[in-house]
Amino acid sequence: MTRITPQLFERRIFAEALRSSVLKLDPRVQLRNPVMFTVYVGSLLTTVLWAQAVLTSSDESSGFILAVSVWLWFTVLFANFAEAIAEGHGKAQAASLKKSRTSVIARKLVDAERQETVDVAAPDLKIGDLVIVKAGETIPTDGEVVEGVASVDESAITGESAPVVRESGGDRSSVTGGTRVISDWLIIQVKTLPGQSFLDRMIAMVEGAKRQKTPNEIALAILLAALTLTFLLVVATLLPYSIYSVFASGVGKPISLTVLVALFVCLAPTTIGALLSAIGIAGMNRLSQANVIAMSGRAVEAAGDVDVLMLDKTGTITLGNRQATRFIPASHIEEQELAEAAHLASMADETAEGRSIAVLAKKQFGLRGRDLASIKPHFVPFSARTRMSGITLDGHEIRKGAAEAVETHVRSLGGQMPEDVRSAVQSIAKSGGTPLVVCRDSQVLGVIELKDIVKGGIKERFAELRQMGIKTVMITGDNPLTAAAIAAEAGVDDFLAEATPEAKLSLIRDYQKGGRLVAMTGDGTNDAPALAQADVAVAMNSGTQAAKEAGNMVDLDSNPTKLIEIVNIGKQLLMTRGALTTFSIANDIAKYFAILPAAFASTYPSLRALDLMRLTSPSSAILSAVIFNALIIIALVPLALKGVAYRPVGAAQLLRNNMLVYGLGGLVVPFIGIKAIDLFLTVCHLV
């Protein structure tokens, strides 16, 4: 799948969104959003009032009623459009996923010897069925490899073109429907029902078909409904008040229904109401653009709240493998001599550690690989018995290995371990490194220090997390000594050494008991219990089926640092909601000042003192407010889709900034906007 990061208003999505914003005028669709439903009813009402004005007579001019009505309809359409465009982005992603879900004929094994097959359509497979998939064929559905080893192209899911190896047993046994076997064959046991495979769920998720409102979204919806109800009451009671005012002061006429509806729509939190679902969908889209599939919106929201982040050491905090960082020669031995010997001993060592020794030797002393063919060396590969590897060259035996193994080796040749080397070995072990001793014949030359290399920039990320109020915990199988050293270097807040699945699980439970929300990543089957317990659990796509089932998100890139990004996206989602709610409410102040003096101009002309914007006429004031209210929705669609920028600063600082921008901004912007629209309408003689 090609990663889609569509332009905000890509033409195809745009056209589709226009179409569907009209289709969404269906009252059943509108009813799902109470705030916008009231606007919808208001639009209908003003349309009827307009018809009445045209056919019979009315207290307002039919042109004015029509203008209000049209802009109310636009308000509804703009809200529909915002939702549609967010959905469009999701659908575009889903479409490319769907391409890989073409119908597949599976070859089901029907006999105990796993020889005979019958062809079965993929949707007819049942859990527990065994299927064989050969090179060039597509895996019909999610399952577990029970036999065979094969390379599989998973680019349909991950976008990563390099094939991965899948084999029975262990942590690489899970396969996903829709991926392709490139070489060899696999026998797969079906693990999910048709229509519920990973790919299916992913499509449903990005399409938003199964979108349920998240708890926070529901709470906000309640607040917005309450506000809407309040304004409905305020506006509804304004009619009697107005009638009484006319009665008591004996001049003017009561406020018209059209103006009441206009006032109500302007006051109701339409800005956030219109954009609320778009914000939610856009949040999920951002997540899938980050190549993470969330199984529920709830998990994304929870990500914003995470207090504790549990990260595996290997691959997340440190580079995957240990690397040589230092040569420590024995006394009377030059460092370069040690480096040369170590280099030679590692020439045939294709492990990452071996290569890192060669790299270090080259970096420090400019040693290069020699033309091995001319010197006819004899390579001694690593064996479990000797626990050493090396080379025999010009009659010299050069070996490297663990301290004890080398000591035994040199003793047998009549040499011995020098004291300084022994103490160097100890101090390396103490600081979290791994010592490798190098010897030539019976002489010990010195020690190579291998260390875990902490990833560049990770310390800064952790500092950032700390500022966000998130505690990081490193999980490692290392002994506590090594773990402590790496933890200190990486700047994590805490670590769990010699971690077993049980220890991980109980650590998560402990944090949760203290009321904290825990996020973790995992890939192995033995991570599954901990993943299931964690509040935000990101399974690596390369991991086992069990891990993926246990998690509530899957990272397609299998990148454990992705958690940090997920937390950001979660926070952004909530912040966007908060910012637009504040903005929406703050807007109301200006609208009051625009509409109220206009609405009561005939009864109480002195209320004109409240018209701070000095708008042209009562009808232009009301119309300007309605138009502003509609246009602001469209103006904020990009913000709703992109989300409010999140910077990792303390909560108080964040609140101050956002209050300033969206609170104060929300107060000031409509004054300017309404005045500008009023000027425009006046200049163009539209009112």
């Binding site: 708890p215 926070n216 529901i218 709470a219 906000l220 309640i222 607040l223 409904a225 309450a226 109800l229 309040t230 009451l233 305020v234 304004l238 009619l239 009697p240 008040y241 009638i243 009484y244 005012s245 008591a248 002061s249 929201e301 929870a302 914003g304 709240d305 207090d307 700390r466 109020g469 998130i470 203290g514 009321g515 904290r516 926070k571 989602l573 909530l574 912040m575 908060g578 910012a579 709610t581 504040t582 409410i585 102040i589 009051y592 109220l596 009561f600 109480y604 002195s606 209320l607 003192a609 409240l610 303390g650 909560a651 108080a652 964040l654 609140l655 956002n658 209050m659 969206y662 609170g663």
Partner: protein, 581 residues
């Protein structure tokens, strides 16, 4: 603003703050069940009451049981107050031989005192016997205040308890509130008030010779005056301390036998706000973080003080009509100046304005001047303070729990803005809490708006509006703002002792009391059942000036958005007409 005015405001606020902190600490101990040693002598009274009522003080309740307890207690209280009024002609302690109160007025008054509103449609000295004043009304002054405080304490327990189903025992909270807090304070205040000349007697009304002779409407000389007396001091003390406000006499605290001297005025002013302010400290003390209490108090103060200054300044500024006639009414050291209509010369503008703002901030319905005669803006402030939901100090208990509901809304919005699902004092605020908070804020507001609408649309409602134009509208709006938010303050200028207003305002008071109280109890129950989340760097601190500002903004914005149109048609347009004509 005169220097004298500033000095008086300073004396009032200083005296208040000095008393509030120790009292707040003491009340926290009382409600935590740890009676301080100096109050130990009251313990036998407490134990005796439990034994008499068969209360098992160790047995705690769920929030539903607690609510049920409050409702039952309120129904019984209502029936008792109603019954005593209807039967007072047959009951003792009625030296004036006052007959039964009318059914609609009895209903209104019973609701009014049970809901801690103390709206008075009746005139005390011409309607109520001493027995009714003491046994029906004064008793309710104590217990309705104690109920409000109990509900607040339950809400605080919602924050302090974790994974708990039980939130305390209603009868225990009620009894402890009365015995340890309200009774001793009232006793002390009543004695001091008597020393200032507040009357306390069972004797009948006195007929005294007039010092300055006058003639009546038909030209006949008038030589004597009947002076109403009665057991007033005991009622006045609790009417202020319990934010009740129901005066013994019709003109309430403007009456020389209820509020005779500047000292009694100062003491009564302080006692009006004493418990509401102290409860902020109680809150901080009980949640184990005093800064939280300070923050809430600061938020209330930030709204209160500027509004107080506005009223003092607008009343002292005087009237354009008088200025046009070249009348010198500039406030200064030699004359009160300004708008003195409806104000006692004993108190002057500053003390009248302080009283008006204090009583409407706290839900205390007493008056020492006639709010109807204030300038339009001077009248707008007390009205708006009530419309804010009586959360700026507010009624004892009810003000703070109302403010805490607003705090939940504020943290909800603030939480979103910092990218965390909202939490307050370690409790996550979810959909249920928001639903209940919305009810608690929305319903009183709806009551005021709808009640006013019905009154101004119907003939019965319009019939007793004494003023025309926007001022008449203000009178109705004020009455419903007062009843719907359980304040009890009256603007006057509206004939309210008739079946229409007695019924409508009675209903408004019921909604304003119980439709806030029950959602608050539900929130408390839900919060208590939740686990407690530790504070981290990502948690939004709720004791900072920033949060105080946000809380103030939420209260003001909700109040302004809900009532701006109504106020525009009442005091605002009246002010504009007055200044432009």
């Amino acid at each position: 603003m005169t220097n004298n005015g500033l000095l008086q405001i300073g004396l009032f606020l200083g005296g208040l703050l000095a008393c509030a902190k120790p009292l707040g600490w003491y009340m926290a101990r009382v409600y935590e069940g740890q009676t301080p040693r100096f109050a130990g002598w009251l313990t036998p009274v407490e134990k005796l009451l439990y034994r008499l009522c068969g209360v098992d003080s160790a047995q705690e309740m769920t929030w539903r049981q607690y609510s049920y307890g409050i409702l039952c207690f309120s129904v019984v209280s209502f029936l008792a107050v109603y019954g005593i009024q209807r039967g007072q002609g047959l009951l003792p302690l009625n030296p004036q031989g006052l007959s039964a109160v009318s059914p609609d007025s009895s209903f209104n008054t019973a609701v009014s005192f049970v809901t801690n509103t103390n709206w008075q449609g009746y005139g005390g000295e011409t309607t109520m016997s001493y027995l009714t004043q003491m046994v029906a009304l004064t008793v309710q002054n104590f217990v309705s205040a104690a109920v409000g405080m109990a509900v607040l304490v339950v809400m605080i327990r919602g924050f302090t308890r974790a994974n708990a189903g039980l939130i305390g025992n209603f009868w225990v909270d009620l009894v402890r509130g009365v015995v340890y807090i309200l009774l001793p304070l009232s006793l002390a205040l009543a004695v001091v008030l008597v020393s200032q000349g507040v009357v306390q007697t069972f004797g009948s009304y006195r007929e005294v010779p007039l010092l300055e002779l006058t003639v009546d409407a038909s030209g006949q000389p008038v030589t004597t005056q009947k002076i109403a007396v009665g057991p007033a001091a005991s009622q006045v003390a609790i009417k202020q301390l319990g934010t009740n406000g129901g005066g013994f006499f019709n003109v309430n605290s403007a009456h020389p036998l209820e509020n005779p001297t500047p000292l009694s005025n100062w003491l009564e002013l302080i006692s009006i706000l004493l418990i509401p302010v102290s409860l902020c400290f109680t809150f901080g003390e009980m949640v184990g973080d005093r800064r939280q209490g300070w923050a809430i108090m600061a938020a209330m103060g930030v709204i209160f003080v500027p509004l107080l200054l506005i009223v003092v300044v607008t009343e002292q500024q005087g009237l354009p009509g008088l200025s046009a006639l070249h009348i010198d009414h500039v406030a200064g050291d030699r004359q009160s100046g300004g708008n003195m209509e409806g104000k006692e010369t004993r108190f002057g503008i500053v003390n009248s304005a302080m009283w008006a703002v204090t009583t409407t901030a706290a839900s205390n319905g007493s008056v020492n001047s006639m709010h109807d005669s204030f300038t339009p803006l001077g009248g707008l402030v007390p009205m708006w303070l009530m419309q804010l939901g009586e959360v700026v100090f507010g009624g004892v208990g009810s003000g703070l729990y109302g403010m805490l509901v607003f705090a939940l809304v504020a943290v909800f919005i603030a939480g979103l803005m910092v990218g965390r699902t909202p939490e307050y004092l370690g409790k996550k605020i979810g959909a249920f809490e928001m639903k209940m908070a919305a009810l608690a804020i929305l319903l009183p507001c709806a009551t005021v708006l709808v009640g006013t609408a019905v009154a101004v649309l119907t003939t019965a409602g319009r019939a007793t509006i004494f003023n025309s134009g926007p001022h008449g509208f203000s009178e109705v709006l004020y009455a419903f703002s007062s009843a719907g938010n359980n304040n009890g303050s009256a603007f006057a200028g509206l004939g309210a002792n008739n079946p229409f207003y007695n019924g409508m305002l009675g209903l408004a008071m019921l909604v304003g009391r119980f439709w806030v109280m029950l959602p608050v109890l539900a929130i408390a129950g839900s919060l208590a059942a939740k686990k407690k989340i530790p504070v981290g760097a990502g948690t939004l601190p709720t004791h900072t000036p920033l949060f105080v500002g946000l809380l103030v903004a939420v209260v003001i914005v909700v109040g302004a958005l809900s009532f701006f149109p109504a106020l525009a048609l009442g005091p605002i347009v009246e002010h504009l007409q007055m200044t432009t004509n």
